[in-house]
C-alpha cells in the first residue's frame, strides 16, 4: 500500500513565513475579532525570494477551519530599485544585473525589493458580520 506522509515544512519556506504572519495577526487582533479579519496586507519585494502564489497557498492552508478562514493575503509586490551614488541615477532592476543602468557603476545601493512586511490588517465592521 502506498503511504504518503506529507510534510508541509519540507516543501517550502513560505509555510514558516505564513505562520510568522499569523503570529503577527494574533498580536494585533483580539481573539473575539479573528472572524472579522478579511485581509492581511503584505509588502513583498521581488528580491525577497518568496513566491507570492506559494505564500497565498500556505496561508490559505493554515487558516482553513479556523476563525481566520475568511482572511486572505493582499500582496503588494515591490520591484527592485537601486540608487547610484556615482551619477545620481535611480533605476529599476528587472534582470538580475546589479550595475548602474546609466554609468555602469557597481557601487549601487539597493533601496527596495527585499521587503517582507505586514503593513495592514483589514477587518469587516461588526454590523456587516457574515457578509
Amino acid at each position: 500500500m502506498l503511504s504518503l506522509r506529507f510534510d508541509w515544512s519540507a516543501i517550502m519556506h513560505e509555510l514558516s513565513i505564513a505562520q510568522d504572519i499569523l503570529e503577527i495577526v494574533n498580536q494585533y487582533v483580539a481573539p473575539g475579532q479573528m472572524n472579522a479579519v478579511r485581509s492581511v496586507k503584505l509588502k513583498l519585494g521581488k528580491l525577497s525570494g518568496v513566491v507570492p502564489d506559494s505564500l497565498e497557498f500556505c496561508f490559505g492552508a493554515i487558516v482553513s477551519d479556523t476563525p481566520l478562514e475568511q482572511a486572505s493575503l493582499d500582496i503588494e509586490q515591490v520591484p527592485t530599485r537601486a540608487d547610484c551614488p556615482e551619477c545620481g541615477n535611480s533605476f529599476l532592476i528587472e534582470d538580475p544585473v546589479f550595475f548602474c543602468s546609466r554609468c555602469g557603476s557597481s557601487a549601487i545601493r539597493v533601496v527596495s525589493g527585499t521587503e517582507l512586511q505586514v503593513v495592514a490588517i483589514e477587518l469587516a465592521d461588526q454590523e456587516s458580520k457574515g457578509t
Partner: protein
C-alpha cells in the same frame, strides 16, 4: 471595513535572535561563516578539506544543519573539532533560534571560527539571518554556469563564492568565465575561489583567505 495599519517585518523575531547570536559571537571574538549551496554541491567536502588544512591554523567549531541524519556531523567529528548537528526534520533552512540553541550546547573555548553548514537549498536560507559574519555560497560546476542568475538573492547576499568540482570542467557544460561573469553581475564584490575537493585545487588559497580575513577583521566583526 476598519484597518489596522502596522509596519512589521515578518521575520522580525528571527532577525532579533540573529542579532543576539551576532553579539554573543562578537563578545567571544568568533568569526562566523554561514555556508549555503544546493544539495550536493560539496559543502561538507569543502569543510572537511578546510579542517584537513587545519583552516590555516585557526580553531574551528562547526554547526551542521540537515533535514535528516547526522552523517555530516560524523564526517566532521573525525577531525576532532567540536560539532553540533541540527536536524530540522523537514524544514528547508536553519533559523536563528536553532543556531542559538546549538551555541549554548557547544564548547566555544578558544574558538576563532564558527562554520555553520546550512541545509542544502539556494532559496530559503537567503531570508534567514543566523547572526553570521558572512555567507559563503558553494556552487558546483555540474549545476551549470547560469545558476547565479536563477538565485540572485542568495548570490547578492553572499560575500564569497566557492566554485567547486572544477576537476569536472572537461566533462560538463559549464564555462567558468560565464559563471564568474554571471555571479559578478549579481554581486560585483563577490570574492571567488575555484576549488576541487578531489584534487585539492584552490583549498589552500581559500584557507589562506579565511585566515587573513579573520585577522584583518580583528575577529567577530559585523557581517559583510
Amino acid at each position: 471595513m476598519s484597518v489596522i495599519t502596522i509596519e512589521r517585518k515578518v521575520l522580525e523575531k528571527n532577525d532579533e535572535i540573529a542579532s543576539q547570536n551576532r553579539c554573543f559571537l562578537a563578545e567571544r571574538e568568533i568569526f562566523t561563516l554561514n555556508i549555503v549551496s544546493s544539495p550536493g554541491a560539496g559543502k561538507t567536502s569543502i569543510l572537511e578539506k578546510t579542517l584537513e588544512q587545519r583552516a590555516g591554523g585557526l580553531k574551528v567549531v562547526v554547526i551542521e544543519g540537515d533535514v535528516q541524519t547526522d552523517f555530516d556531523a560524523r564526517r566532521v567529528a573525525r577531525y576532532s573539532v567540536p560539532v553540533v548537528q541540527i536536524i530540522t526534520h523537514g524544514a528547508c533552512h536553519l533559523e536563528a533560534k536553532l543556531v542559538q540553541d546549538a551555541l549554548h550546547k557547544m564548547d566555544l573555548t578558544g574558538a576563532d571560527v564558527l562554520i555553520i553548514e546550512n541545509v542544502g537549498n539556494l532559496v530559503c536560507p537567503a531570508n534567514y539571518d543566523l547572526g553570521e559574519s558572512m555567507k559563503v555560497v558553494v556552487l558546483s560546476t555540474t549545476e551549470g554556469d547560469d545558476k547565479p542568475l536563477k538565485y540572485p538573492a542568495m548570490f547578492r547576499n553572499a560575500a564569497v563564492l566557492l566554485i567547486n568540482k572544477i576537476d569536472l570542467i572537461p566533462y560538463v557544460d559549464c564555462n567558468l568565465g560565464v559563471l564568474r561573469a554571471n555571479a559578478l553581475q549579481i554581486n560585483p564584490s563577490l570574492r571567488i575561489f575555484e576549488t576541487s575537493c578531489k584534487t585539492g585545487a584552490g583549498i589552500a588559497d581559500w584557507c589562506d583567505w579565511l585566515k587573513l580575513n579573520v585577522r584583518a577583521r580583528s575577529k567577530g566583526a559585523d557581517r559583510a
